[in-house]
């Protein structure tokens, strides 16, 4: 051992360094990666114990556990408005939120590709940690694996979330009833088009930014304003159209939408036009779709608009009785058409 600096270990070179197979081998290199990169970023009492699993406190009386998991394989890893790190936190939190749950803890698994720059990894981990801190949902346990060069695509992140569901909260896609009102919390298609514009190097005067955000605050305000809220969903992959078809199928109802009422940013609309895409099928990562009884719709809309993440919320249609479970839209042009399930893959690797 050196007599100059006893106990000295050369720190990770986060500026020039890359992931190598050693970082996943379970040895000293992996311990160093976790100790210098992951642990300080995510730092919390459960994770800091360094055990194989996190031991979590009991829930309050009558509360039920809610659990969700989400794998993220997005390309590119960094995009206007976010990156794979914060997206992986928001995505799983929102899956819990739409069940009406209070998100409590996250677990994160990283699949890293050999050769992935440590600087990028650090940026992703720090973004993830910031998102988790902001949402007040700590990452309490995790795992890291490394695959050979060419066997992954930089980094894949899987997050699993646990939340608590209060007594009496029974949100489900199967609850929509004829006469109910359908609302959306803001402009649709932002996330998907931000990714697509980046991939296709489309430059617009007004940048398209991903809407990635944790929605528990908004959802809480919505549930408070509309205690009779029946369905809450986050229209991610497949966009608003897919989510509405899922609700129609689960509830055994139809829908009648007004196309001109569905909010779409002009730059998203333009980008969709250019690429031949329909914004109704483009992914969102920070929006909620709600179905509530007509009597509560005005109050719910007001509460959504009062929240920063729901400022451009809108009432977009009604639930109808329809054994065929068709989602129909009255077009701005004056005709009608169906908004069907997405067929095929509109935009691959969007989240």
């Amino acid at each position: 051992m050196s007599v100059v600096k006893p106990g000295y270990v050369r720190p990770l070179d986060v500026r020039q360094g890359c992931i190598d197979m050693g970082h996943g081998a379970g040895g000293r290199a992996m311990a160093q990666l976790i100790g210098e990169l992951f642990a300080p970023a995510f730092c919390n009492a459960y994770l800091d114990r360094g055990d194989d699993a996190a031991v979590l406190p009991a829930l309050a009386d009558g509360e039920r556990l809610v659990m969700a998991t989400d794998a993220h394989v997005i390309s590119p890893l960094f995009f206007p408005g976010g990156d794979i790190g914060c997206l992986s936190v928001h995505g799983t939190i929102n899956d819990l939120v739409v069940m009406g749950a209070r998100p409590l803890y996250l677990a994160a698994a990283f699949v890293l590709e050999e050769g992935f720059p440590l600087a990028d990894l650090k940026r992703i981990v720090e973004s993830m940690a910031a998102a988790s801190r902001e949402a007040g949902v700590p990452v309490v346990t995790g795992d890291t694996k490394v695959v050979e060069r060419g066997k992954g695509d930089g980094v894949f992140i899987t997050t699993t979330g646990v939340g608590a569901l209060a007594v009496g909260c029974e949100l489900s896609g199967a609850n929509a009833r004829p006469g109910d009102v359908v609302l959306v919390s803001g402009t649709v298609g932002d996330h998907g088009m931000a990714i697509m514009a980046q991939r296709e190097s489309l430059a617009f005067d007004a940048e398209i930014r991903s809407d990635t955000a944790a929605l528990h605050g908004l959802a809480e305000a919505m549930r408070a304003a509309a205690p009779g809220l029946r369905v809450l969903r986050d229209p991610t992959r497949g966009g608003l159209a897919t989510t509405l078809n899922e609700i129609a199928a689960q509830s055994g109802v139809g829908m009648e939408l007004l196309e001109s009422a569905i909010p779409v940013l002009p730059q998203v609309d333009a980008a969709c036009e250019l690429l031949g895409l329909d914004p109704l099928y483009v992914a969102n990562e920070g929006k909620l779709v709600a179905v509530c009884p007509e009597s509560e719709a005005d109050g719910l809309l007001a509460a959504m608009r009062a929240h920063p993440l729901g400022a451009s919320a809108a009432r977009i249609g009604v639930i109808t009785e329809d054994a065929n479970r068709f989602v129909q839209v009255r077009t701005g042009f004056g005709g009608r058409r169906m908004v069907d399930w997405l067929s095929g893959e509109q935009l691959p690797r969007i989240c």
Partner: protein, 386 residues
């Protein structure tokens, strides 16, 4: 969106709808074919038929490039990609899902290890070749006169650059030949089997070839043609112009899309295409069978970049599924719902016939956008406010 929303204005559409209803003679029926998939899409996407009187019927024509692409051509590309691992096949997105022989499609062949990629443009295909000099990049080029000039450009660029690892499987087809084929088909010629009172002429195709090629159909077959843009108001205005021509007993070529189409078309693009391609004696179209002089092949000076020559590819025709009505639907003889396979075994997820593959295809457009019309409507009009 400026310059786009103006052509989708609901109020203008309502005014036009009233005008069309007033001008259409209630004592007769009108049947117009919109040749292009772009028009089919606009009609379905915006619900244009809801704004037309009941006696005006639109027939969806064969102008959807992937719909008329015969299975044998796709088999050719899949066979090449599976047989030669050094080959990268690249093509436009819609092509990937077209059903081919043996339960395959390009997408399924890709899952079995064939290197097949989606590109957004011919230029992307050329760039792929430049970035993969150790591989053979084959561009599977499809489309009507609109997509032909870009293919000609990359062929010329490949020759200028001496790019040795790039080639093209040329499937480019010609609009006027397809229109002739429809007009010559026994169903249309034998008066009454398929009533056809006129054509909504292609938008983008006509920007290249101009309006002049349609003059022959108008004159020879006494069918009015109105060239129209791809926006829903364009389509409605064109329908109104067609009704007027029919009512007045005229059969002329009129140009609704004058903001983009001239009589002569794009002479530069035409010259480029003529320099690079020549007519095929005959080409198989799905639904129309062999159509004489209806497609292009690469000229001998570009033979080095012609994948059919380079890899010695031969075309094997493949018969369609017996129950599939795509052919009759493309000729306007049947409607999608007349087909036994429609919506049952043949859906956009699992297309049996080509019309179900692309959203511009008659079957997919009806399935995705108009299926609700096949069942009695119970829903009352809804009022929503924001």
């Amino acid at each position: 969106m400026k310059y786009v929303d103006e052509f989708r204005d609901g109020e203008l559409a309502a005014t036009l709808a009233v005008a069309i209803a007033r001008e259409a003679d209630t004592g007769r029926d009108y049947a117009f074919m919109e040749f292009c998939g772009g028009h089919t899409h606009a009609i379905s996407r915006y619900g244009v038929t809801d704004l037309l009187p009941a006696n005006v019927r639109m027939i969806h024509g064969p102008g959807c490039p992937v719909c008329v692409l015969p299975v044998g051509r796709i088999d050719m590309a899949i066979g090449l990609a599976l047989a030669r691992p050094e080959v990268i096949i690249c093509t436009y997105g819609d092509c990937l899902r077209v059903p081919a022989s043996g339960g395959l499609s390009m997408l399924k062949a890709k899952a079995r290890g064939a290197d097949i990629r989606m590109v957004y443009s011919a230029a992307d295909a050329l760039a792929l070749a430049q970035a993969n000099l150790g591989r053979e990049v084959v561009f599977f080029a499809i489309g009507f006169e609109t997509t032909t000039p870009p293919t000609a450009l990359v062929l010329r660029a490949a020759r200028e650059q001496g790019l040795g690892n790039f080639s093209v499987i040329c499937n480019h087809v010609l609009t006027p030949s397809a229109i002739s084929s429809i007009l010559e088909s026994p169903e249309v010629r034998r008066l009454g089997t398929v009533p056809l009172d006129g054509f909504v002429g292609p938008a983008h195709v006509s920007t290249v070839i101009g309006s002049r090629p349609y003059e022959f159909f108008a004159e020879e077959y006494r069918k009015p043609v109105v060239i129209a843009g791809f926006e829903p108001l364009d389509v409605m205005q064109a329908i109104r112009m067609l009704i007027r021509q029919v009512n007045q007993g005229r059969a002329e070529v009129e140009n609704e899309f004058s903001r983009a189409v001239s009589r002569e078309g794009n002479l530069k693009a035409q010259a480029l295409v003529a320099e690079t391609f020549e007519l095929r004696r005959s080409f198989e179209w799905r639904g129309l069978r062999e159509v004489p002089y209806s497609a292009l092949r690469i000229r001998p000076p570009f033979a080095r970049w012609d994948a059919e020559t380079r890899f010695d590819l031969t075309y094997q025709p493949v018969p369609d599924n017996k129950a599939c009505e795509c052919g009759a639907i493309l000729r306007g003889v049947r409607r999608p719902t007349d087909c036994k396979l429609f919506g049952t075994v043949c859906t956009p997820e699992n297309p049996m016939g080509s019309c179900m593959v692309s959203s511009e295809g008659a079957c997919a457009a009806h399935y995705n956008y108009g299926r609700f019309r096949d069942v009695p409507l119970k829903v009352e009009t809804m009022e929503t406010s924001t």
